[in-house]
Subunit: 262 residues, 2 copies
């Protein structure tokens, strides 16, 4: 139903994402869903689980269907780890005064780490209809740690998520509005863009507000930067969610990345 992660993209940089995990509250639990768990085991562990270990993981897993726009997990007491089988989500942090920061976006096949509520409050929200497999982080990690060969794939994804969060920190700390928007477009194109004749097409599952909240900008500034990029011939939009990048390299040049000449 959701066509994310189905494109070749052009940036070729993203692997599975790791964000943060917590306990579902307003989502309805589905008793079991063989194929959902299977997809988790196949994607994360390459189907290399023994029957015994597989059964142990299944005992820890809880499946959830969350429809677009709803919170899947919010303000949880303990850390969660969550496999996103289908759909797209955002991890949102709340600070005082109702300010929100989108920490990360996730797409089908990714593993997400959701931190327990502490200084800030985290919520995982569905951007599209989602199927989730949710674990307690403690239980998941204890089990993965006990058997050889299981923690590696998870660790790899956690480090990839860390690397991505750091890239985000650079954008938030040191980049102009235009560079942030360009970075966002290039990055997201690498994750869910489809290469097409002379460019790349993205079907954005998130709103302008989500984009702004992820870049530390307002919705108006994002819109203005889109307009600017449009004027420069680097961006074409069709409806609210379809974006075409005629010249990804030109866009990348505006993203504030280090020139590889240095």
């Amino acid at each position: 139903m959701i066509h994310v992660n189905d494109g070749a993209g052009f940036g070729r940089q993203g692997r599975a994402m790791f964000s943060s995990g917590s306990i579902p509250q307003q989502a309805r639990s589905t008793p079991d869903s063989r194929s959902l768990f299977d997809r988790f085991a196949a994607t994360i562990f390459q189907d290399a689980l023994t029957d015994v270990v597989r059964a142990r993981f299944r005992a820890l897993a809880r499946n959830f269907d969350v429809s677009a726009g709803n919170a899947a997990l919010s303000s949880v007491e303990h850390d969660r780890i969550c496999y996103l089988a289908s759909g797209a989500t955002k991890l949102v942090a709340q600070a005082s005064n109702g300010r929100e920061q989108v920490i990360a976006f996730h797409f089908a096949g990714e593993l997400i780490s959701i931190p327990a509520r502490s200084a800030h409050d985290y919520a995982l929200c569905a951007l599209k209809d989602c199927e989730l497999v949710v674990f307690s982080a403690d239980e998941f990690l204890a089990l993965a740690n006990r058997e050889p060969g299981l923690a590696g794939p998870v660790l790899e994804r956690a480090l990839a998520a860390l690397a991505r969060c750091r890239e985000q920190s650079i954008a938030l700390g040191r980049k102009t509005a235009q560079e942030r928007v360009a970075s966002f477009l290039v990055t997201i194109a690498g994750r869910i863009g489809r290469a097409e004749a002379g460019g790349c097409v993205i079907d954005l599952p998130m709103s302008r507000r989500d984009i702004g909240d992820s870049l530390g900008l307002t919705i108006e500034t994002v819109s203005r930067q889109f307009g600017e990029l449009r004027d420069r011939g680097l961006l074409e939009t069709s409806g609210r969610s379809i974006v075409r990048l005629p010249d990804p390299a030109g866009l990348d040049a505006l993203a504030g990345h280090l020139t590889h000449a240095a």
Copy 2:
């Protein structure tokens, strides 16, 4: 020599940090240092390595002494994992135009992940004289993944680093200069502060510029905010590096954290 991580602090929130890893260039390699590796094995694996596995890790490890102000690892080709036995470091990312973003600070006993050069360039720099144990991330992870019980502690630290990076994203994306500085002080106090009569004392190993570069602010703005906090009686400084927080709770109230009443 460096007295980090020796205080009880008051925030009690930090565990080992995970940042990023890469190959030393300007650091001089020391052939071997039994006690250095021992401290690594003791801290990260609680000395639970078998002799065989221990020997394998030692074969992968390279020890480095780096003096304050020098780069330990910079612009590396492959991801690194690095144990900081003593001292203090910063992980710096470079964007275009010479802009720098300090991604994280690290203190003795922490594990650091250093990403290979890509869209941005990363460097691990010593704030104080440091002793490091450096691994290739690929080799380290492959080895840790092969044996049961080894990847867990590493994964735990990676997730803690991810959580901290996310907290940083909130500050960078949505907080005012004052909130960022207050957050910084509260967080750093929790990591290296010493509780004293009516407050908390921190010996900052980093300069104002480092602080600014980590908060997405200029050195002048940091200094101004320090002045403001001083005027409010929330901060006392003694020399360049000694900071006293007479009222950590009052400072935390300015940090933009979510009130736990909600």
